[in-house]
């Protein structure tokens, strides 16, 4: 396990983001951009509940779609992609 004082580096939509230990993927996504997903009618959406209930924070993590980013911690080298346009 990495030194807990170390920063974790990951990418969100290709943007390199550095976060502290224990940071969630949702926080990293909002540091890199404005939204996490696009709604069924095309609205930009970002986290609402912060606790794994609302599913607004869904992103793709290392190729796995529909991950609740607020409940998953950042890991070194993680590749996160948010939705930028209609699904």
């Amino acid at each position: 396990m990495a030194d807990p004082l170390d920063k974790v580096t990951l990418t969100v939509d290709g943007i390199v983001v550095q976060v502290g230990p224990g940071a969630t993927v949702a926080a990293a996504a909002l540091i890199a951009g404005l939204q996490t997903r696009v709604s069924v009618s095309g609205e930009p959406r970002a986290p609402l509940c912060g606790m794994g209930i609302c599913f607004e924070c869904r992103v793709t993590i290392d190729g796995a779609p529909h991950q609740r980013s607020c409940q998953i911690l950042c890991a070194p080298g993680m590749q996160v992609s948010t939705a930028r346009e209609l699904p």
Partner: protein, 434 residues
């Protein structure tokens, strides 16, 4: 592999921690399943500014002889005595030795599933950076930088002041804290707080930390404005409206209990809360419930209920009864809290025809008008049929229309087929416990 436990605790907030530690101290085999990345629930989420009680209970939990499934959630209870759990990161960095799901066999099941915020729809509430009050707090504890940001905190309940104080301590600028309740409604709660030195000290220190912010009663947001994200919020008080520029709106209208698992198991609900006896047993034998699902009462009551349930499950009935007597006093705070947070009927008029109510399926208010009930609305509009399964819009629809969800079906959260089917391995071996 199937794991065998005397008691499986669902949720590692104050109630779950207290129950797990108490049961383990009594020598029971305890398993804890918690959806969050770390124990503590929402109120004791990781990060700085945790009260001493939180540090103490977390330390006891860390030292307790307990099997922890941290970052897992229960998705089904397929038969009595068996719960099915799925790992949250099952699809990420998939390694073949790690099972996506596992079955937990239990003699007793304790539901310490906590509460979520109630959200009410108003124009602009779906904009990015409009979050729950607890929601923004959780995001900040999860690493979202907040220093120098302008945050309007609104909604109802004591959580607002706690969140505002935490954000202010982290360097946020809080122009206003708005509670929809009137001072008269809050009075019984304030009296309760005055009688309890601990709560009084906490409340006073929160207000001191937020002394630069206006604290407004009878005040609520009527709309949030922005383009791709929030730019400002329009507040209303006594018929007067004004606009406040901000980066975030942290808005939650008190809490609603997470009762889905209890409903699935057939536990009786009363006024939306899980009914229990004095020792926290539900209407279903060997299914117990502690904390916010039995009534929103805060940390102290949750800790008490967790300990009562832990002792009762371990057969220490007289000790459990002794603690249960102390619970009665704590319940009066819960009742005052309930009254203080009752919603002003004017809040029903916030949403207009084209305001989205169901954020998963983008169902607007206009589509719901005239529907006969929750089930009718679901069938005709897909309201509540998205991945959150009505957890967000359900509480709003209950306030707007008086609709109640009539049934809960498995899986209680969207689940992977593989978490039911794949060969199982020990969930604790593939990665280190958090």
């Amino acid at each position: 592999m199937i794991h065998d436990f005397d008691i499986v605790v669902v949720g590692a907030g104050p109630a779950g921690l207290a129950a797990a530690v108490t049961a383990a101290d009594c020598g029971l085999r305890v398993g804890v399943v918690d959806d969050n990345p770390a124990p503590g629930g929402q109120i004791w989420r990781s990060g700085a500014h945790l009260p001493a009680a939180a540090r103490r209970w977390k330390a006891r939990f860390a030292a307790a002889h307990v099997v922890r499934l941290q970052g897992w959630r229960i998705v089904d209870c397929p038969e009595p005595g068996v719960a099915r759990a799925q790992r949250n990161d099952a699809e990420i960095g998939r390694d073949s030795s790690a099972a996506d799901g596992t079955s937990l066999r239990y003699r007793h099941l304790l539901l310490a599933t906590g509460a979520r915020e109630r959200f009410l729809p108003f124009p602009g509430w779906t904009l990015p950076n409009v979050m729950g009050a607890g929601g923004l707090d959780a995001m900040v504890r999860g690493g979202l930088p907040i220093a120098g940001k302008r945050v309007v905190v609104a909604g109802t309940g004591p959580l607002l002041l706690a969140v505002a104080a935490h954000l202010a301590a982290r360097g946020a600028e809080i122009p206003a804290i708005c509670d929809q309740a009137s001072l008269a409604r809050m009075a019984p709660l304030v009296l309760q707080v005055l009688r309890q030195p601990g709560k009084l000290w906490q409340g006073a220190s929160y207000r001191w930390t937020t002394r630069a912010s206006r604290y407004l009663t009878r005040c609520w947001p009527v709309s949030a404005e922005g383009d791709s994200r929030l730019r400002s919020v329009t507040l209303q008080r006594d018929g007067k409206r004004w606009s406040v520029a901000c980066d975030y709106l942290a808005c939650g209208f008190h809490l609603v209990p997470n009762t889905e698992l209890a409903s699935l198991l057939g536990c009786r609900l009363e006024h939306g809360f899980v009914a229990t006896d004095q020792l926290m047993q539900t209407s279903v034998p060997n299914i117990w419930c502690a904390g916010e699902p039995t009534g929103i009462g805060g940390v102290e009551l949750s800790l008490l209920e967790g300990q009562i349930a832990g002792l009762a499950v371990a057969g220490r009935t007289s000790d459990a009864h002794r603690l249960a007597r102390g619970r009665r006093g704590a319940l009066s705070f819960a009742r005052a809290l309930h009254r203080a947070c009752r919603l002003n009927p004017q809040l029903r008029d916030l949403a207009s025809h084209n305001t989205i109510v169901c954020r998963c399926e983008d169902v607007e208010l206009g589509a719901l008008l005239g529907r006969a009930g929750w089930r009718d609305a679901r069938l005709h509009t897909r309201c509540g049929m998205g991945p959150c399964q009505g957890r967000i819009c359900g509480a709003a629809a209950e306030f707007l229309f008086g609709w109640r969800a009539d049934s809960v079906r498995p899986p209680v959260f969207p689940a992977l087929v593989s978490s039911f089917l794949e060969p199982e391995a020990d969930p604790m071996t593939p990665r280190e416990a958090v």
